[in-house]
């Protein structure tokens, strides 16, 4: 087992354009999966939940706008990193997973539970769904953290 990545390398990855551009794409990707799979295909999520508080509605709208912009801006920022010769595939993959994991956790804990924007599914025992949802988020985040460390150890490529 080799030693952990040096601190300065780790900070380098976390400050790189590749990481943050892909982070934005990761957020938007997860939001897209949420929208397409759970809202449209499965029809589990509701467009509007009567239990939603005003704060929930406000935060949902802001997050939605952020996702929409993140999706497009993320790709432009990645292209910008590329043309400046600052693109790192490893850092980008790390950012993608960290972004998607954090979004999934935010959605599972803050949106579904704290603000009650909507639930994962209705008329079922919700606990197992919540657990699976947040475990998936945690797993994505863990993969992202691992990739970040890997990117810091072998920054080239």
């Amino acid at each position: 087992m080799t030693s952990a990545a040096p601190r300065s390398e780790l900070i380098g990855v976390l400050r790189s354009k590749s990481f943050w551009s892909a982070f934005l794409i990761g957020i938007a990707l997860m939001a897209g999966v949420d929208e397409i799979v759970f809202h449209q295909l499965l029809g589990w999520h509701h467009f509007y939940d009567k239990a939603t508080s005003d704060v929930g509605l406000l935060s949902d709208g802001l997050l939605h706008a952020g996702e929409l912009v993140a999706l497009v801006a993320g790709f432009f920022l990645l292209a910008d990193a590329r043309r400046r010769g600052a693109f790192s595939t490893r850092a980008a993959w790390a950012g993608l997973f960290v972004g998607s994991g954090l979004f999934q956790l935010w959605d599972g804990i803050i949106d579904h539970k704290v603000l009650g924007v909507h639930q994962i599914r209705y008329d079922v025992e919700i606990r197992p769904y919540d657990l699976a949802w947040n475990a998936a988020g945690l797993a994505l985040l863990a993969v992202g953290a691992g990739l970040t460390v890997l990117a810091a150890r072998r920054p080239a490529g």
Partner: protein, 257 residues
């Protein structure tokens, strides 16, 4: 008989607008490039979009059914302004008019009132704010009135145009705001639009069936998303071009003024 007079007036105005633009675009200019054909096409598509919103079957249905009403608004207030802004009518006017008239036009465009109205924040408040007033207050009752329908479509086209031009305008504007400010306003405007859509789903305007309200709200939400993604992509493309490494210094003025 207002139900025939107003559509005829609108049709005449649109045909006139198409003719004037095409005549200006076709005018031979010595020593200058031809006016790009795709801009003329965008102008025509923009006018056709206004026609689709204000004339014909959709306009008729818009009186009866809320989803059709929302569709007309998406066309007149978002798609048409986008197409018209990209057709750069201001640029065409400035290069077609003689010097003294062009100067008068650019003075008008620089006047305090228009500067204010094409500033991102006031333009966004006007655009989204009037939607909120219309759908989330008792004002929603005026939607059904016949003459007011045209007035509203006209209002939403103008408000949509001012907002779109404040974010991605390509006509000369010496007072263009920074990319950061425009991005912030854009995010807030998109948020306000989607929040209003969900608010309508939860609180249908007076005397509107809940099912129609939800259908219309979903069309407003997802239709708005589609057009907003195009707007964001155009905005990002402008940023991408302006911040290219070699030209960064050259474009810095345009970015910060």
């Amino acid at each position: 008989m207002p139900s025939l007079l107003l559509p005829l007036a609108l049709a005449a105005a649109l045909i006139l607008a198409a003719g004037v633009y095409l005549a200006a675009a076709a005018r031979p200019r010595t020593g200058r490039n031809l006016w790009p054909a795709h801009r003329s096409l965008l102008w025509l598509l923009g006018l056709a979009t206004i026609a689709a919103a204000g004339l014909g079957p959709l306009a008729d249905a818009a009186h009866e059914r809320f989803p059709a009403h929302v569709a007309a608004h998406l066309l007149a207030g978002m798609l048409a302004p986008l197409l018209i802004v990209l057709s750069a009518p201001g640029t065409l006017a400035l290069r077609t008019l003689d010097v003294s008239r062009a100067r008068r036009l650019s003075r008008l465009l620089n006047s305090g009132c228009l500067r204010f109205l094409t500033d991102p924040a006031p333009a966004a408040v006007l655009n989204i704010g009037s939607l909120w007033v219309l759908y989330a207050t008792p004002a929603s009752r005026v939607m059904q009135a016949d003459g007011l329908h045209y007035l509203l479509l006209g209002h939403f086209f103008v408000a949509g145009y001012l907002f779109t031009v404040s974010i991605i305008g390509i006509d000369p504007a010496p007072h263009r705001r920074s990319f950061q400010l425009r991005l912030a306003v854009l995010v807030l405007a998109i948020a306000a639009h989607s929040i209003l859509a969900k608010h309508i789903a939860g609180h249908p305007p007076a005397r509107m069936p809940a099912a129609a309200a939800e259908q219309g709200a979903m069309l407003m939400y997802y239709g708005g998303d589609l057009l907003e993604i195009i707007l964001v992509a155009l905005f990002c493309a402008q940023w991408y071009r302006a911040s290219r490494p070699a030209a960064a210094q050259l474009d810095r003025r345009a970015m910060t003024t």
